[in-house]
Amino acid sequence: MRLLHWTMAGLVLTLLALGFVMTQGTLGGAFDLATSFTLYQWHKWIGLLVLALWLPRLVARGATQAPAALAGWQGRAARAAHGGLYVLMLAMPVTGWLATSASPLHLPLLVPLPVLGPVALPDLIAPDARAYALLSTAHEILAFALIGLVALHVAGAARHALVNRDDTLRRMAP
C-alpha cells in the first residue's frame, strides 16, 4: 500500500508537471516538434501506468485498515478528498486516452510493453475535433481539481503530523 501510494504520488506529480510543461510548446514555440512529441509520449505512457495501477491500488486500500476517521467536518473532508483522489486517478487517464483517441491527428497510441514490445491501444472513440477540444478541456479542468485535492491532502497529512501530533503520517512513511 505504502509502495503503491508513493509510486503513484510520484507518477501523478510527474504527470502534472509534464502535462503543463509539454502543452506550453504549442503556444510559445518553446519546444521543437521532436521534443514536444517525446514529452507527450512519456506523459501518455506514465498516465497509462497510473491507470494500470489504479485497480491494484483500490484493492490494496480495501485490504488495509485505514486509520479511524476524525469526527466532524475534518473526517468528512478527508473522506471526500480521498474519494475524489481515487476518482481523479481514474478519470485523468481515461479522459487523456479519450482525448488522444479523438485527436484529429489520429496517431496510434503505442505502448512499449516489456517483453511484448510495442502494443497499439485501440481508439476509444472516433477522431473528432470538437470531441477532442471538449475532452482535452475536461482533462485540464480535472488536472486543476486534482492539484486542489492533492494540496488539501498534503495539508491534512501535515496537520496530522504537526498539529494533532498523531502517527497518521508516520504510517505512510516510506
Binding site: 519546444f31 516538434l33 514536444s36 491527428l105 496510434p108 503505442l110 510495442p118
Partner: protein
C-alpha cells in the same frame, strides 16, 4: 592469329565510324557517401521547422559536363534509416501514418531529364517513388566543380499527400522540403 587481328582492326574501324553517331554516355561518378546528406525539413503548426535525414542509401551519378542534359542521377534510400534526432518520433514516422516502412522499405528517385538553367544550376526531373506511388518531381540542382569532382546540392518540395502520406495533417504540414547534397568524384 592474323585473322584475329584483321577482325579486331575491322571492329575498331566500325567503332570509330559509329562514334559520332552514338555520342559517348555521360561518365559515371563515384558518390562520396561520407559527404552525402539526404535531408528533409517539414513545418508543423506552432513549432519551429523539424529537420531530419536518411542515413542509408545507394546512389549513382553520371555527369556529362559538356552536355548536362545527358547526365543521370539515381537514389535509392532506405526509408527506415530516418533520423530526426528523436528516436520516439522516428519510430512513429516509420509507422503506418507516415513512411510505413514495413510495407514500403524503399524511397527512390530516378532522373528522366536534366535541363540546364545557367552555368551553375540545372533542373533535374525524375520519378519519385514513395509509399508505392511513383510521380514526376523536379529538383533544382546547384553544381559546383571542385577539381575533377562536382559538389551537387539538389533541392525540391513535394506534397506528401500526393503519395498518400496523410499522417499528422493538417497540424504537420503537407509540404516537405528535400535537400540532397553530395560530392561526385571522377573515376
Amino acid at each position: 592469329m592474323l585473322r584475329n587481328s584483321v577482325v579486331l582492326c575491322a571492329a575498331s574501324l566500325v567503332a570509330l565510324a559509329l562514334a559520332p553517331l552514338s555520342p559517348a554516355a555521360a561518365a559515371a561518378y563515384r558518390v562520396e557517401t561520407g559527404q552525402t546528406h539526404i535531408d528533409f525539413a517539414i513545418g508543423a503548426k506552432g513549432y519551429p521547422v523539424t529537420r531530419g535525414e536518411f542515413h542509408r542509401f545507394n546512389a549513382s551519378v553520371a555527369i556529362d559536363a559538356a552536355a548536362p542534359a545527358k547526365s543521370q542521377v539515381a537514389f535509392d534510400v532506405a526509408a527506415a534509416s530516418i533520423d530526426t534526432h528523436a528516436p520516439l518520433l522516428d519510430d512513429y514516422v516509420r509507422g503506418a501514418g507516415f513512411l510505413d516502412t514495413a510495407h514500403h522499405p524503399g524511397i527512390a528517385f530516378h532522373s528522366t531529364t536534366v535541363r540546364q538553367m545557367n552555368d551553375r544550376t540545372v533542373e533535374l526531373a525524375g520519378n519519385l517513388s514513395l509509399l508505392g506511388v511513383t510521380r514526376p518531381e523536379t529538383f533544382r540542382v546547384t553544381v559546383t566543380p571542385e577539381g575533377t569532382a562536382f559538389r551537387l546540392v539538389a533541392q525540391g518540395e513535394i506534397r506528401r499527400s500526393d503519395f498518400g502520406m496523410t499522417g499528422g495533417l493538417p497540424l504537420v504540414s503537407d509540404t516537405v522540403t528535400i535537400t540532397v547534397s553530395t560530392l561526385a568524384l571522377a573515376q
